[in-house]
């Protein structure tokens, strides 16, 4: 594993272009575009204000920089550095901005979810979509970029509009059987739309592209419901994480529950491997701790860590949530399938230090990673069944079937990995610190960093 130098960044704004060639980072009001391989600066753009949101267009030709406070969006071209575009949303204010899948339209959601403004870069035309719903995930483009599903709220009822992204033609418009729609998500093949209700009610609705209701699923009533949803890349499974600390997998044929994954506080499953991160502080004898050493060593706080395979049964650290407060820290907050559909990673909020990996072939628990700090972020490799995660310290953790690795980022200063994401080819990993970034290359040929690896049983 190799690590690049550390670069500055602000607002965690760092994106790799969809074609994988460029790396764009925002530093205050400047946008820096680098070559991913050489990390040479290719372009430098100056925005009008501190950038709040940045996004590559799908064809990697344009970069959108949104300044929500100013209600401004600036678009830069990579091919023609002198070309620029500025969209002013006016006095109404800007809430969010995003590219349409074709990379020629920009969708701006205005304050109060009053409307969505669709700006065309082709002909400067502007169109509005009214009544968008303010919810967790009210808008989703299908994977092929052809359709857009939008949750709407009119007359205290939820509706879904399906648009054709080519010319923003309204294809379907239908009412949903939800109390308070919380999110919509297309299946990866773009034929099924999963719609779920807010956490007050466990309700999952599945609509066909043509607006037919395919199925309704509800696991229980009178309790907090769905917290997270994920489609498998093959559209075969729909994983639903809920507040009852379980993940339910629906199949794509009958849309019935296939299996239920519980997250018990005591792991007894004999087929699961529990990797426990063990921190190893450099051993310093108490009698020869001198001022010299203390002043010398920031290394004193430079803890190393490694994974140990815990023998079953294992007790997972559980944090008791405050149930009286809104959005209690309990339940499955994140679910993600690996690229090959083989594994499912989940995180239970009241077990913040552990990450669960499930085998979808065996439909059982595969591994549990018990970290020393709460898991901040975990991402699957887009090519391999390999999982990267970070816990807000100076280390990157990798899980694969072969075992678990903990790698310290050898950056100067205090580089704490807040979040991370993979490069599209799975060769490198972009680590985001508080105001820095660092690239981590996965080439195993030149291993310059001490790696502590434990092979699984």
């Amino acid at each position: 594993m190799n690590f690049s130098e550390v670069f500055k960044q602000s607002n965690q704004l760092c994106k790799v272009s969809p074609d994988g060639k460029y790396l764009a980072t925002c530093v205050q009001y400047r946008l820096v575009v680098r070559d991913v391989n050489t990390l040479q600066i290719l372009q430098l753009y100056t925005c009008l204000d501190q950038v709040a949101h940045m996004e590559w267009s799908s064809d990697s030709l344009f970069i959108l920089c949104a300044m929500y406070k100013r209600g401004l969006v600036q678009v830069w071209s990579l091919e023609q550095p002198e070309w620029h575009c500025k969209i002013d949303e006016g006095s109404i204010g800007l809430l969010s901005s995003r590219w349409s899948p074709d990379g020629r339209h920009i969708l701006n959601t205005t304050e109060f979810h009053l409307r969505i403004t669709v700006w065309s870069l082709c002909n400067k035309s502007v169109s509005y979509i009214k009544y968008p719903k303010a919810c967790q995930k009210g808008l989703d483009f299908s994977a092929d970029g052809r359709y857009m599903a939008l949750a709407e709220r009119r007359d205290c009822k939820d509706y879904i509009s399906i648009f054709v992204c080519d010319d923003w033609h309204l294809l379907r418009h239908f009412e949903t059987e939800t109390q308070d729609l919380a999110g919509v998500e297309w299946s990866p093949n773009g034929c099924v739309l999963a719609v779920w209700d807010s956490c007050l009610e466990y309700k999952m609705l599945l609509y066909s592209l043509d607006g037919r209701l395919l199925s309704t699923y509800s696991a229980y009533e009178w309790s907090l419901g769905i917290k997270s949803v994920a489609w498998s890349p093959s559209s075969q499974f729909l994983a639903i994480g809920s507040y009852d600390e379980k993940v339910r997998i629906l199949n794509h044929i009958t849309w019935k529950k296939l299996i239920e994954f519980e997250h018990p506080a005591t792991i007894t499953s004999s087929k699961a491997v529990v990797f426990k991160e063990v921190e190893k502080r450099p051993v310093v004898g108490t009698e020869n701790v001198s001022i010299h050493q203390i002043t010398l060593g920031s290394s004193l706080f430079n803890t190393q860590s490694k994974y140990e395979i815990a023998s079953l049964p294992v007790q997972v650290t559980v944090v008791k949530p405050d149930l009286d407060r809104a959005n209690p820290k309990i339940g499955i907050s994140a679910v993600a399938f690996s690229a090959d559909n083989r594994y499912l990673a989940t995180k239970n909020d009241n077990m913040p230090q552990s990450l669960w990996v499930w085998d979808m072939q065996r439909l059982g628990l595969q591994a549990v990673l018990e970290q020393t700090a709460p898991v901040r972020c975990f991402v699957w490799d887009p090519r391999k069944p390999r999982l990267a995660l970070c816990t807000g310290n100076a280390k990157v953790y990798l899980w694969s079937l072969a075992g678990c690795v903990s790698v310290k980022v050898p950056a100067e200063g205090n580089f704490q990995v807040q979040s991370l994401f993979w490069h599209g080819n799975g060769d490198s990993l972009v680590l985001l610190g508080k105001d820095q970034i660092c690239l981590c290359y996965m080439h195993t040929s030149s291993c310059s960093v001490p790696v502590t690896l434990i092979l699984s049983k």
Binding site: C85, K86, C122, R153, D155, D167, G190, C191
Partner: protein, 592 residues
């Protein structure tokens, strides 16, 4: 014992006498006369006066009265005598009667006493029992009351709990009502608020539209072409239709793909099913004959023939099912599938039956093994007994026959004949042995001859070898002499080797001329004898003559040659003797 039990009707003075009499009765054998004699004596000794001379009459009457009251004969007085005297017979009778009575009474009294005692102890026992039971009763009563109390308390508790429950239920109801009302209120409020906000949004929207926000604008250097390079199209009905079409196409393709995968899966599953069925058939079919064969065996007599017939029917049905399923594979329809399922079910049942039967057979065999062995054992015993019987009979008959033979007269002729036969046989055998012995002897002789021949040959060979060696030694010796040119030895050696090869015949010839050559010849003159016979020496000489300065070696060489010759000769002789000895040894060996 209880003197207070004495009958109270008797007057006090008789008290002691009675007792004493009773004691005497007990202590000694009841000789009534003596006692009756003793009694008056005793009674006379006491001067208590029941009867005096004066009141005899009264006494008699009194006694009579008393006796009659007791149902006894009275005492009569003799008035004939000088005084008044008692009629002895009647008095004695009465006395005897009284004594009897007394004794009876005594016995009765004893019985009654013992009865009394028994009763007393009984009473005591009953009393204690009674008290115990009373205690128990008390205890149970107390317990009962305690339980009653407990029950009462529990009931009280139940009542309070019930009331509590009721109140709780009411509260729950109330709370639910409150929740419901709150929920409705909340939803109502939420809706109202939402409507308000919607209205506000609408208003805001309106305002925005009306105001014509100046700032709302897009600034661009120049327009960008579409990503697909085409021009934007107008929204028309045709476009709508096209979108619909595309959508349906996408859906259809998805469904098709899904169906494809399902079909594939289905076919794979069917294949698996078929495979399983085949396996099952193969598992079942070889068992059929053996499961059909056992009925002859007594262990399987329990397996009913109905089962077998069922199996046959099953197998037939299965064959049908097999075909059906094969058909089903080709034509995919519900009925076929049902048939398939049916056939599978049938086979499962068959398999189950089979397994069950196997199990039962195993258990049966386990249970029957002992009995079978016993039965078999018994049968064998029977058989052996019969055999034994037969053997015995056979032996008996044989013995009988032998006896008859022995008992019958033995004539000499037959004996002589028999003896003759024996001697002849022996003679024959001896002759045979003789012949064998002769043959062996001849063989030995032949062998001995061959050995002697071999020994002679060996002697010859040895002689030849000795000659060779002598020659070789000679040449070696010559070569070692300092007069020989140092450049030569290789050549000379080569020649000598050659000569050795060519020599054997010449040597054999030279043996006849040995005496002549054996004479030592000093100097050069000695080289004359038969150079042609010994070409090697001749050659040697020739070479020596070529080099005149080497004189001594020549002479030495002749010496060597001569000595070598004699040596070989003697050796030959020795060897011949050796040979003879050897052959003798061989003879001895062969004779041994």
């Amino acid at each position: 014992m209880g003197d207070w039990w004495t009958p109270p009707m008797m007057p006090d003075p008789s008290h002691d006498t009675k007792e004493l009499s009773s004691i005497s009765h007990i202590s000694m054998s009841p000789s009534r006369h003596s006692s009756s004699a003793a009694l008056p004596k005793h009674s006379y000794s006491i001067l208590s006066a029941f009867c005096t001379e004066e009141n005899v009459q009264q006494c008699v009457t009194y006694i009579n009265q008393e006796a009659s009251s007791l149902g006894l004969g009275g005492v009569s007085l003799d008035s004939g005598g000088p005084g008044v005297s008692l009629n002895a017979v009647s008095a004695l009778n009465l006395f005897y009667e009284l004594l009897q009575l007394n004794r009876r009474n005594q016995r009765q009294l004893q019985d009654l006493e013992s009865q009394q005692l028994k009763n007393c102890s009984n009473l005591e026992h009953l009393q204690t029992n009674n008290s115990r039971l009373k205690d128990q009763l008390e205890h149970t009563r107390r317990e009962n009351s305690g339980l009653h109390e407990g029950e009462r308390q529990l009931q009280l508790k139940i009542r309070t709990l019930q009331s509590c429950l009721k109140s709780e239920k009411e509260e729950v109801q109330k709370l639910q009502n409150i929740i419901a009302s709150r929920a409705t209120q909340y939803t109502h409020d939420a809706k109202r608020k939402e409507r308000e906000s919607a209205k506000l949004k609408e208003r805001l929207n309106q305002l925005l539209v009306d105001k014509r926000d100046r700032k709302l604008a897009i600034e661009m250097v120049n327009c960008v072409s579409r990503s697909d390079g085409k021009r934007g199209l107008w929204k028309t009905g045709k476009m709508e239709a096209r979108h619909e079409g595309e959508m349906y196409k996408a859906l259809l393709s998805d469904y098709e793909a899904r169906q494809q995968t399902l079909m594939q899966e289905n076919s794979e599953l069917k294949k698996l099913l078929q495979h399983m069925k085949k396996d099952m058939v193969s598992i079942l079919s070889p068992k059929k004959p053996c499961s059909k064969a056992p009925p002859t065996d007594d262990s399987c007599t329990k397996a009913p023939p109905a089962d077998d017939s069922l199996e046959q029917a099953g197998s037939e049905a299965e064959d049908e099912g097999d075909e059906c399923s094969r058909d089903a594979l080709e034509q995919v329809c519900g009925a076929a599938r049902e048939q398939l399922a049916n056939s599978i079910r049938l086979q499962w049942r068959r398999l189950k039956n089979h397994m069950q039967r196997l199990d039962s057979q195993v258990s049966l065999a386990a249970s029957q093994e002992d009995t079978i062995s016993i039965r078999e054992h018994e049968e064998a015993m029977q058989r052996m007994r019969v055999e034994l019987q037969q053997c015995k009979e056979f032996i008996q008959t044989q013995q009988q026959l032998l006896q008859q033979q022995l008992s019958s007269p033995f004539d000499d002729d037959t004996a002589a004949l028999l003896n003759d036969g024996y001697t002849l046989e022996e003679k024959e055998r001896l002759k045979e042995e003789w012949r064998l012995f002769h043959e062996q002897k001849r063989n030995f002789e032949r062998e001995r001859k061959s050995f002697t021949e071999a020994a002679i040959r060996l002697g010859h060979e040895r002689k030849a070898f000795e000659e060779d060696r002598a020659l070789w030694l000679k040449t070696q010796f010559l070569n070692m002499t300092p007069f020989v040119d140092r450049k030569r030895p290789a050549m000379i050696e080569g020649r000598s080797a050659l000569s050795i090869n060519a020599e054997p015949e010449t040597k054999v010839l030279s043996t006849s001329a040995a005496p002549n050559t054996s004479v030592p010849h000093p100097g050069f003159t000695s080289n004359t004898p038969s150079p042609a016979h010994l070409p090697s020496t001749a050659e040697l000489y020739r070479t020596l003559q070529l080099f005149p300065e080497s004189r001594n070696p020549g002479r030495r060489g002749s010496n060597g040659f001569q000595s070598g010759d004699t040596l070989t000769k003697s050796r030959l002789r020795n060897s011949s003797t050796d040979c003879s000895i050897f052959s003798l040894l061989r003879d001895e060996n062969s004779a041994a």
